[in-house]
């Protein structure tokens, strides 16, 4: 009996390893990242196991999502794409009417849980752009670029209006990366970026006063050290005082003594930097680079344009998270609500990120060789 069971288990393991549905390298990278995130969260929450346990539970939930999504063929996803996009955009409209949340209308209360429809767009946006470009003649011409621009601008504009500039940026970036990967000509890219740069002063005019203050504070945090500058100053003190080797696990005084606000969520990376120093920062950055690189590798192996663009856009928007959050913590970028992926505490972002990786696994599982 036992021998038979053992033989069967070994056979199953061999099959899984020979024909894995998931990319083991990407899984390894994500597990490492999640582990680092949980360790940091343990310290940042002051050893609060209920916080760490809650986050771990979300990772498990997200992991199951990954396994399930990896079984859904990309062709099916492609078929659903327009409906998913329309649905999530419709929810965005609903949320601007009915939404609740402190200061920002981003939450939709479903009774059991509250969630942000804008999180959905992080995935449905690159899907939609990939879906649109998939059958077209590539590289895209101005007409297709204009259509894609419209597809991006409508939801991104709604999100920015909530106002949630960070998510709007992530959603727009995800769509834009798909366009970039589709081979859009460099001169067109140059022209568009030039136009965007020219529009900055106009955009400044449309920003909320608090958003403008965040930018002003970034330029001169010491002008208001106890008010708007507090986050930036305290975060930089945390990072800088970590030095090369860090203060050691659970020795972040900036976090423990509550000088650092939001030290489990948006500013958790400051705690990480304080405790593990430059060595830790470099290691985490290498890990992120590895994950992004692996995503792009999977994208290159994908069997059709839709899968390629989607996988590539998901991988590249991962970078936007890291750069915006890491830059904010280091006082390089203004304070916006972008979490450090899989490190910051918080349910929706972890789940939506892992959903994206589930789609990637599916694309990997259905790559060229398996047609």
């Amino acid at each position: 009996m036992i021998d038979e069971l053992q033989v069967r288990l070994v056979a199953l393991a061999k099959r899984v390893l020979r024909r894995p549905r998931v990319d083991l390298l990407l899984v390894a990278g994500l597990l490492l990242l999640a582990a680092a995130g949980l360790v940091t969260l343990y310290s940042a929450s002051g050893g609060d196991l209920s916080v760490v346990g809650g986050q771990a539970a979300r990772f498990v939930f997200g992991g199951i999502l990954v396994l399930l999504l990896s079984r859904v063929p990309p062709t099916l996803l492609r078929t659903w794409t327009p409906w998913l996009y329309l649905g999530s955009t419709a929810l965005l409209v609903v949320v601007t009417v009915l939404g609740e949340g402190h200061g920002a209308n981003r939450w939709l209360n479903l009774g059991v849980m509250r969630f942000q429809p804008s999180e959905l767009l992080k995935l449905t946006m690159p899907m939609m752009v990939a879906w649109y470009l998939h059958p077209r003649q590539l590289p895209p011409g101005w007409k297709d670029i204009a259509v894609v621009g419209l597809l991006i601008a409508i939801p991104a504009g709604l999100i920015a209006e909530q106002p949630d500039l960070g998510t709007a940026l992530l959603v727009a970036a995800a769509g834009a990366f798909a366009l970039f990967l589709s081979g859009m000509a460099w001169w067109r890219i140059g022209l568009l970026l030039g136009a965007v740069a020219g529009a900055v002063p106009v955009a400044w005019h449309f920003l909320h006063e608090y958003q403008r203050n965040r930018v002003r504070t970034l330029l001169d945090p010491e002008s208001d050290p106890l008010g708007n500058g507090w986050h930036i100053i305290q975060s930089q003190i945390a990072v800088g005082s970590g030095g090369v080797f860090g203060k050691g696990f659970e020795h972040s005084t900036q976090s423990r003594l509550e000088f650092l606000p939001e030290h489990t969520t948006d500013f958790i990376f400051a705690v990480f930097s304080e405790e593990f120093g430059l060595v830790g920062v470099a290691a985490i950055m290498l890990l992120y680079a590895f994950i992004i690189g692996r995503c792009l590798w999977i994208a290159m192996e994908a069997r059709d344009t839709y899968s390629r663009l989607l996988a590539g856009a998901i991988g590249m928007s991962f970078f936007v998270y890291v750069f915006v959050n890491g830059g904010m913590v280091a006082g390089l970028l203004p304070v916006v609500g972008v979490p450090m992926p899989l490190v910051s505490y918080g349910g929706t972002s972890a789940v939506s990120l892992l959903t994206g990786f589930g789609v990637l696994m599916s694309i990997h599982a259905h790559r060229k060789t398996r047609d």
Binding site: Q137, L181, I237, G240, T253, F259, M285, M300, V322, G326
Partner: protein, 663 residues
């Protein structure tokens, strides 16, 4: 929604290759972005590490001062004169109060807050950091504490804190010696070292408390605390305990001080007793006095107004700051000067006829005894306080030599007693007059300077110091109240050294003997006769009567009523005992005394009290039998009035204006 895909034109292989190139470029751009980000972290964590490490520490580490315990003050026998007792005060944490004025208004309904409290509090509020507690009301009564306790929930950021407050158990008796402490205010902050006074609420304001502030205060300790962003202490990293202030032991015996105070029987005046062998002050009294405890936690306006408005000025330390004409008390010193300068030999005589006239002048200076004392030598001149003798001596000496000599006894200057605020008095001299008058020096002013009138002003401490210097064979010591100090950990009090301030003023011992003989004769048969009857040791002394006002009428000549005279005279007495080997010297002054010998009983009582405390072996055997048989026995108490009329009329110059005699 989208147009039908035109598959024929699409080139899947080309698109795939295109994607590879784009993905590669994208990845390189991402690597560059991540590299730039890491560069920023290198900048913060390596290049600016020191700066941020310091800022991180200054965020979390706060030094909290622990104020030292103030040293105690004891009398010579170890009786407590000033100690620290636990008390309670209201404190406010400004950071936790949203609307300070509203809170104070509400709090005043619960605990009475007067304007003084609130003013002091607001002043302090401006100076403190927002995390520091600011005292609002000191010395809460039990009622206050009870009422606040039931209402405390309404006052976030207000708390009752215990502290030590200063207490003066003997109250008025030592107010002019020990002084008092008061709350530190804005003005103090300028002169006090902020490092030493962090956390301290009180500072010495007067008396010993002020002049020995440095010793009494001690050194604060501190606590290294780790605080959170709200400034609340999370844990104490290390503690450096404070060094308490030194305990001080005065040379004054509280019993002697009490006897000296009681001797005044409520009359306004002052007395100072000094040990001539070392300058130790044995008693220092200024009557009336006040309760120093009133000042410790802030005196109320009403109490302060009452003290300031009192006609007999209880806050004035007469011993130190009251300057009065010395009258005849300066005569022994002048006589000694005559000997030192070689102007007089002891046996040189002068004829006292009742008046002394300067050549070429019609207005003359009087002796007190009508018809004078006849032919007097130096001893008799001191004994009877013969003015003519000293008029002549002063004139022969000249004002320059006179003031030079007298200044050696610290007349006209501070004695150097270990109290602050000592008045200098006035020693007549050309220089002094030049600074205070447009006229030059007149010879008549030298004449009256010889009997302690004119510009002369001395404080009781000055005179006590001078007579102690004389008693101590001319060796000058600065008067000292603090005899020894005891720091934490010392088993025995350590004496404070007080070496003589100079060599003896007397060059020949025989000169001291002459003056001594004259001053003994004052007690046995002179102006102080009978005052020390029954005292087992021989006493040397000198009376003095000084005018309070310049004379503008002839009322003096016709009105010999004591009360009338008392209103115009200051009465002085100076003396020391045992005469041959002085252990104690004293000077007493009554602001309103008819004659110099009215002050003598005060000195007598001081000597009596002093004697009762001496152990028998510390003194030579009594030189006098208890009931001294005299060649001319002292008059019985039943017939004093006639004596007084004769002997008591001393010292006064009969000149129209004693202060400004016109040539």
């Amino acid at each position: 929604m989208a147009t039908k895909p035109i598959r024929s034109i699409k080139d899947p292989r080309g698109e795939s290759a295109q994607f590879r190139r784009r993905a590669l470029v994208g990845f390189l751009l991402i690597l560059a972005g991540l590299g730039a980000l890491v560069g920023r972290y290198v900048y913060l964590q390596v290049m600016r590490y020191n700066e941020f490490a310091v800022r991180s520490d200054s965020n979390r580490i706060k030094l909290r001062p622990i104020p030292p315990t103030r040293g105690l003050i004891y009398d010579r026998q170890g009786v407590v004169l000033a100690d620290n007792v636990p008390a309670f005060r209201l404190e406010v944490v400004p950071e936790q109060v949203d609307d300070m004025d509203a809170m104070l208004a509400q709090l005043a309904q619960v605990v009475p807050l007067d304007k003084d409290d609130i003013d002091a509090f607001k002043k302090q509020l401006r100076l403190n950091r927002r995390f520091d507690n600011v005292p609002l009301k000191m010395h809460l009564s039990e009622d206050d504490i009870d009422r606040f306790a039931v209402n405390q929930w309404r006052f976030h950021g207000v708390q009752v804190a215990s502290y030590f407050t200063r207490r003066y158990p003997l109250s008025e008796l030592f107010a002019h010696v020990v002084g008092y402490v008061g709350r530190i205010d804005e003005n103090d902050l300028d002169r006090l070292d902020p490092l030493l006074y962090k956390g301290t609420t009180h500072v010495g304001r007067s008396g010993i408390e002020r002049s020995y502030e440095e010793m009494l205060h001690g050194t604060p300790g501190y606590e290294v605390d780790e605080v959170n962003a709200d400034g609340q202490t999370q844990r104490v990293i290390e503690t450096h305990p404070p060094t308490p202030g030194k305990n001080l032991y005065l040379s004054i015996d509280a019993r002697l001080q009490k006897a000296a105070t009681d001797a005044f029987e409520g009359r306004v005046g002052s007395a100072v007793a000094i040990d001539p062998r070392n300058g130790q002050v044995l008693a220092l009294v200024s009557v009336p006095s006040y309760d120093p405890n009133l000042f410790v936690n802030g005196i109320s306006h009403a109490d302060y107004a009452a003290l300031m408005g009192a006609t007999d000025k209880p806050l004035l330390n007469r011993a130190l700051q009251g300057a009065y004409p010395p009258g005849s008390t300066v005569k022994p010193f002048l006589a000694l000067g005559g000997l030192e300068y070689g102007i007089r030999r002891p046996e040189d005589t002068v004829l006292s006829t009742g008046q002394f006239c300067l050549p070429g002048q019609t207005r003359c200076y009087r002796d007190d005894d009508r018809g004078g004392n006849g032919v007097v030598n130096m001893v008799r001149a001191i004994q009877h306080s013969t003015n003519t003798y000293f008029y002549k001596l002063a004139l022969d000496m000249g004002i320059d030599r006179l003031s030079a000599w007298m200044s050696r006894f610290s007349f006209g200057d501070r004695t150097g007693i270990d109290l602050t605020g000592e008045a200098k008095g006035v020693l007549p001299s050309r220089a002094w007059k030049a600074a205070h008058s447009k006229f030059g020096w007149f010879p008549g002013e030298t004449v009256i300077a010889g009997i302690g009138q004119g510009y002369w002003e001395v404080t009781p401490v000055q005179l006590a110091h001078a007579v102690a210097t004389l008693a101590g064979h001319g060796v000058p010591y600065a008067p000292r109240l603090v005899m020894s100090t005891k720091a934490l950990g010392e088993l025995q009090p350590q004496p404070l050294p007080n070496p003589p301030t100079g060599p003896s003023l007397i060059t020949k011992p025989s000169e001291w003997g002459v003056i001594n003989e004259g001053m003994r004769a004052v007690i046995t048969a002179g102006t102080g006769k009978g005052q020390f009857d029954g005292f087992p040791y021989e006493v040397a002394g000198k009376t003095g009567t000084a005018e309070r006002f310049s004379r503008t009428s002839d009322a003096y000549d016709t009105n010999k009523n004591s009360a009338y005279l008392a209103a115009r005279h200051r009465a002085w007495f100076e003396g020391f005992t045992p005469a041959e080997d002085p252990h104690i010297a004293a000077a007493a002054m009554l602001e309103a005394g008819a004659w110099g010998k009215d002050a003598a009983p005060i000195v007598r009582k001081i000597f009596d009290a002093w004697l009762s405390e001496q152990s028998p072996d510390s003194l030579p055997p009594p030189q006098l039998p208890v009931a001294p048989p005299r060649a001319r026995p002292a008059p019985s108490a039943s017939a004093p009035s006639e004596e007084m009329m004769q002997d008591g009329t001393e010292d006064l110059p009969a000149q129209a204006s004693s202060a400004g005699a016109t040539p």
